[in-house]
């Protein structure tokens, strides 16, 4: 099908437009409208939010294009949707549908246990998850124009999001202490292309925007990730899990406010006050190693 080479800079450009915002998982038109009204910069259309995928089990696949299309028709913000790791036909379907961004996501059940999608073959931009610098640079090399740290989706436990962001930022900081010669060995250790390692070392940041995902459930969590270096936060289950529409809207507005004002404790205080209970969630320690989503992807 398409042999168009992706213009990485246009995908990166859209990611730049989403900075300082909140991208919300939504399961239907009603939720998409709530998200947009609450100031979301983008919505991720999926049939089951990660907390439901976790509790219901089974194989998780790309959502019904009909549901994604309805959401695209209902809101004016960019719409993202997820495909399984390595499932390039699901990606072809979403490109044909015309979504604005594809998330090649560990939240769904992987379709290929060795290869990710060759994202350079697509015109539509891709976001991918990572848990460390090497993984992030491998995804960028495959054509991802936006990286998000994975965290552990559907838990409402922010600890993995923090761990992955600290890992990524720490490794980038570490590159700055290496000279040119040492970067070759580092690239080998990271299993990442030398030119991307060199660029990251030179600029002190990833070659594409760096967002955070997986476990953000409160305004304080969102501000925490922003202060740690995230440029935008994905909130998956944290808004619509265990909530009525009115409660979800309050949570959504509060997280948007705290993300925009993340540097000012008074704003985060206002955003954190008088909210409905956050999602009950599940602490990472209670999840068996095999059930952890962040380990998916290579």
């Amino acid at each position: 099908m398409s042999n168009q080479v992706t213009d990485l800079n246009l995908g990166k450009g859209l990611a730049e437009m989403l900075r300082g915002g909140v991208i919300m998982d939504v399961m239907n038109v009603e939720q998409a409208k709530i998200a947009e009204q609450a100031g979301a910069v983008s919505v991720m259309a999926l049939e089951r939010i990660p907390s439901l995928l976790r509790s219901q089990g089974g194989v998780a696949r790309m959502s019904d294009p009909k549901m994604i299309q309805e959401i695209m028709n209902a809101v004016t913000t960019p719409v993202m949707a997820k495909v399984r790791i390595g499932h390039f036909v699901e990606a072809q379907i979403l490109e044909a549908l015309g979504v604005d961004y594809i998330d090649e996501s560990e939240v769904l059940t992987p379709a290929d246990d060795a290869n990710h999608i060759d994202k350079r073959k697509f015109k539509v931009p891709f976001v991918c998850g990572c848990t460390d610098l090497g993984e992030g640079l491998r995804r960028i090399n495959e054509g991802a124009s936006l990286i998000r740290t994975k965290g552990e989706a559907g838990t409402g436990d922010v600890v993995e999001a923090v761990r992955h962001m600290r890992q990524l930022i720490g490794e980038i900081r570490g590159l700055r202490n290496l000279d040119e010669t040492e970067l070759y060995a580092k690239a080998k250790e990271l299993r990442a292309p030398f030119d991307l390692v060199q660029q990251t070392a030179r600029e002190g940041r990833l070659p594409v925007p760096n967002f955070s995902a997986g476990g953000v459930a409160t305004p304080a969590d969102a501000a925490l990730m922003m202060q740690l270096g995230a440029e935008t936060v994905f909130v998956g289950s944290g808004i619509f899990a265990d909530a009525s529409p009115a409660e979800a809207e309050k949570r959504a507005k509060a997280i948007v406010k705290a993300t925009a004002g993340f540097e000012d404790p008074r704003i985060v205080l206002e955003a954190s006050t008088g909210l409905p209970q956050p999602m009950v969630g599940q602490s990472i320690g209670s999840i068996k190693k095999n059930d952890r989503l962040a380990d998916r992807g290579w």
Binding site: G13, R19, G39, V99
Partner: protein, 208 residues
């Protein structure tokens, strides 16, 4: 010379880098208190619904309106939507009424992200046929159209026959992203305008 960049959400840092490259002072604007001492203000690209919501949330609509009487504003993509007198298609609930440029701007007119592209801009002042500058490879990202404008509003930039840059008095709007292209041309133009208005052109390296 200090230029502010509205930094509530969106594509802020590339503007800061361009402005620093020109040796002017730069200030990120997140609240009312930051609005003092500016010679110009950039309203960057981003999500217009989100930015409009945040401008309201942080009580910036009125102060911005007042400030616009004194210094030039430059709106890029979503920023042009915030500055337009009329907005067509899908504002949703968060309409702003800064009304700084007497034009009708239609959101997302080029289509979704798959229709984002890089284009050639033919730029000229006063008369579209004289002294045209050509700037290549300028990104348009889910860009708006400028559908119509009042008498006295000047069309300065054209791409594929579409007007993409308008100037109304001291304020201007562009539907493309000059901060994401290699050229410094458009930022230089804005700095020159702010310098001519402020009457003191001394460059400051200071970043707030």
């Amino acid at each position: 010379m200090v230029i502010g960049v509205l930094a509530l959400q969106g594509c802020v840092e590339p503007h800061i880098e361009k402005l620093q490259g020109l040796g002017v002072g730069v200030k990120r604007i997140r609240k009312q208190e930051n609005l003092q001492g500016l010679d110009g203000l950039i309203l960057p690209g981003g999500e217009s619904t989100t930015m409009a919501y945040l401008v309201r949330l942080f009580n910036l609509e009125k102060p911005l309106h007042e400030l616009a009487k004194k210094i030039p504003f430059w709106g890029i993509c979503a920023g042009s939507i915030l500055m337009a007198k009329e907005v067509s298609r899908g504002w949703g609930t968060h309409q702003l009424s800064l009304g700084l440029v007497r034009a009708n701007v239609e959101r997302n007119s080029y289509g979704r992200q798959l229709e984002s592209f890089r284009g050639r801009i033919d730029y000229s002042e006063n008369d579209v046929n004289s002294n045209t500058e050509v700037i290549l490879n300028v990104p348009f990202i889910r860009a708006p159209y400028f559908l119509s404008w009042d008498n006295g509003v000047e069309v300065q930039g054209i791409c594929d026959g579409q007007p993409v840059s308008l100037k109304d008095g001291i304020h201007s709007i562009t539907s493309f992203h000059p901060e994401l292209c290699d050229s410094i041309f458009f930022h230089q133009k804005f700095v020159d305008l702010c310098t001519s208005m402020s009457g003191h052109g001394c460059a400051s390296e200071h970043v707030y």
